[in-house]
Symmetry: C2
Subunit: 352 residues, 2 copies
C-alpha cells in the first residue's frame, strides 16, 4: 500500500481506476481527487505559478505580488449547526489565502441558483456572507449570478475567489517542509464534518457538535509574527488532517510521524465517528490549521496559536522525518504504528 496520493491505482480492489465518468469520490479530497487533478487538470496548465500546488498562487502584478485563490462550495444542507454555505464560502477562501502567508483583502462572489430556490434562503446566505466578510475584514468587490433550471442544480452553489497580499517575511510552501519540522495543529478535529453529517442524517450525537468554520488569518498572522520562518501551513478541509499530511509527505518527499494520542478530538466527535465508522483524521475541518515549523520555532509558534481564541487547544501532533519519505506514520494509542493512507473516495461527499 502506498500513501502517495498520486500513486497508480494498482492496489484498488474495485475497478474504479478505469472509471470513464466522474464519481462522487472525485470530489472527496482522497486519491480520486488527486488523480483527477494531477492527471487531467494540471498537465493542461503547467506553469510556474500553478506548479507549487499550494492552495493559492503568488503572482507578480504591477510591480508587487498578489496572492490569488478560488473555491466553489456545494455543501448540503445549506444551513447546518455552526454555520452555512455563505459563511463557509468566505472563511474557506480567506483561509486558503492565509495558509499561504497572505493577508486576505478582496473576494469575488458568484452564485449558481436553482430555479425555485426560496428568495428567503438566498437572503439568509447573502446576510451570512456579509457578516463573515465583515468579521474577516475582507470586501466583496465583484460578483455574478446565474440561474439553472429546476433539477439541474441543488438550491445554491457559490464560488468565491480571493485576492491578498503576502505578509512581509513569510515564505510558505509545501516544498519547504523538511525533516526535523514540528507538526502543529490548531485545535480539535472533525467538528465540521460531523456537524454536517448530523444535520444531513438527522442524527443528534451526544453533545452539541457545531461546524468550526472560522477565518484563520489572524491566528496565522500571529504565528508568523512569533516565528516568521514557518515552512508551510494548510487548512485540513476535504479529506481532513489525513489528506493534508499525506499531501505534504508526498509533495515535500518527507516522512511525517504523528502521535495519535496528541491529536485533539472532542468526545462528541469521537463518539459520532465511532458510531459511524469514520476516522476523525479523515473528517473535514473548516477552522483549523496544520503548521510545519522548524524545531527551534515550534514552541513559539505553538504559544502564538494558543494565544488566539481559535487556537486555545492547539497541540504539537508530530514531527517531519527523513525516513519513510512520502509516507505518514501514525503511532497509535496502544503503542503500535500504522501507515496513514487515504481512501479513494470518502464517506462524506459535499462537505464543503
Amino acid at each position: 500500500m502506498s500513501s502517495d496520493a498520486t500513486a497508480p491505482f494498482t492496489d484498488c480492489p474495485i475497478p474504479i481506476a478505469d472509471a470513464k465518468e466522474i464519481l462522487m469520490g472525485h470530489g472527496s479530497g482522497g486519491k480520486l481527487t488527486a488523480r483527477l487533478v494531477e492527471e487531467l487538470i494540471l498537465p493542461a496548465f503547467r506553469n510556474r505559478f500553478l506548479e507549487p500546488l499550494d492552495d493559492q498562487a503568488l503572482l507578480p502584478v504591477g510591480g508587487g505580488r498578489v496572492a490569488f485563490t478560488t473555491d466553489s462550495y456545494v455543501v448540503t444542507p445549506l444551513f447546518f449547526p455552526g454555520g452555512d454555505i455563505g459563511e463557509l464560502a468566505v472563511n474557506g477562501t480567506v483561509n486558503d489565502l492565509a495558509v499561504g502567508g497572505a493577508r486576505p483583502l478582496f473576494l469575488s462572489l458568484a452564485f449558481i441558483l436553482e430555479e425555485g430556490l426560496p428568495l428567503a434562503e438566498l437572503e439568509r446566505v447573502i446576510a451570512s456572507v456579509r457578516r463573515a466578510a465583515e468579521a474577516a475584514d475582507v470586501l466583496v468587490v465583484t460578483g455574478d449570478t446565474k440561474v439553472v433550471n429546476r433539477g439541474k442544480g441543488d438550491k445554491l452553489f457559490v464560488n468565491t475567489a480571493g485576492i491578498g497580499v503576502p505578509l512581509p517575511g513569510a515564505s510558505l510552501s509545501s516544498r519547504r517542509v523538511a525533516p526535523g519540522d514540528a507538526v502543529l495543529l490548531s485545535g480539535p478535529i472533525g467538528d465540521h464534518g460531523v456537524a454536517i453529517l448530523s444535520q444531513r442524517e438527522g442524527i443528534a450525537f451526544g453533545g452539541d457538535v457545531r461546524s468550526d468554520t472560522a477565518p484563520l488569518h489572524r491566528l496565522i498572522a500571529a504565528v508568523l509574527e512569533a516565528f516568521p520562518d514557518v515552512h508551510a501551513m494548510r487548512d485540513p478541509t476535504r479529506g481532513g488532517v489525513a489528506a493534508t499530511l499525506v499531501e505534504i509527505a508526498s509533495r515535500a518527499r518527507v516522512g511525517v510521524e504523528v502521535d495519535e494520542r496528541a491529536i485533539p478530538v472532542r468526545d462528541a466527535v469521537r463518539g459520532a465517528c465511532e458510531l459511524l465508522g469514520l476516522d476523525p483524521l479523515l473528517v473535514a475541518n473548516e477552522g483549523k490549521v496544520v503548521a510545519f515549523v522548524p524545531e527551534e520555532g515550534a514552541a513559539r509558534a505553538l504559544d502564538a496559536m494558543r494565544s488566539d481564541p481559535l487556537g486555545r487547544e492547539a497541540a504539537r501532533i508530530g514531527t517531519v522525518t527523513g525516513e519513510h519519505r512520502g509516507m505518514v506514520t501514525l503511532r497509535t494509542p496502544i503503542g503500535g504504528r500504522r501507515i496513514l493512507d487515504l481512501p479513494f473516495g470518502e464517506a462524506l461527499p459535499r462537505i464543503c
Copy 2:
C-alpha cells in the same frame, strides 16, 4: 413603461414582481436580474470598489492597482457551433477585464462536476480552456474541483475569476458616459445566442451560425491606443446589446439614441430571429464590444476597431444624448422611433 432596468415592477402584467423564489428570468440579464442584484445582493456589500457596478473591480493592492472579475458559466449544451463552455469561460472573463481597460493576466478555474459526467467531456473542456488561455495569453494559476450527485447539477459548471492590470491612461466606467459620446459596436450581433439555440433545439438555420466567442483584449487595447479617452466599454452578453445600452442609460443617467439600420446583423441570424420571434438586440454575444467614445475620438476608435480581425464589421450605431435620460431610443428602419425596453426574463436561458 420605463426602460430603467431597476424600475419598480409596477408595469409587470404578471405577478412576477412578488416572486418568492428564484425564477429562470433572474438569470436572464433582464429586469429580474437587475432587480435581484440591485435589491438583494448589492445592498449587502456596498463599498467603493463594488459601487461603480462595472464588470470588474479596480483594487489597490500592494501599491499598485489590480482589476478583478468573476463569472460562472452554466451554458447548455456544453459544446455548440463555434465554441464550448471552456472557451466561453476564458473569453468571457478575459473580456470582462478588457472592457474595464485592463490587460488580462491570470485566471482561476473552478469546476462543479455532476456525477456521471463522461471524463472524455471533461477532458475536451479542459483542452478547450487551455487553447483559449493560450490564445488570450493568460495563465490559469489556481483552481478547484467539486463533484455533486447525479441529478444535482448539469454535467459541468465552471467559474473563472480573472486578474489584470489597468492599461496606462485608460479610465473606463459607465459613470463617464456623457451626452455627445458616439456609440460604437465592433461587429454583427446575435451569433452566440442563435448558435446555442440552434444546437439546443436541433434547428439548422439557413447558413452556418457559429458562436462569436473570442477574446477582445487586443481589439480593445488597439482602440485605447488610438484614442485613450474612451469613456466606457461593455461586452453585450446576457440580454444582448439592448441590456448593455439600457444599463448604461440608467447608470450614467443619459439618453442613448440608436439607429437600428446601423446595427450589423448577419442574414442567417436575422432570419433565425424572425423565425423564433426574437429581437437580435436582446440576443447574447460573446465576442463583441460596445464603446462609448467622445465625438472627437469616434472616427479614430472606429478605425482601430476595423483594423482588428475581430472588428472588421464595426459600426457606429448611435449617439449619447442629454434628452430622455435613462432611456434608449431606437430609430427604426421605417423612420419611426421606439423605446428599447428589457423583458423581465428572456427567451434564452443558460446562454453563457
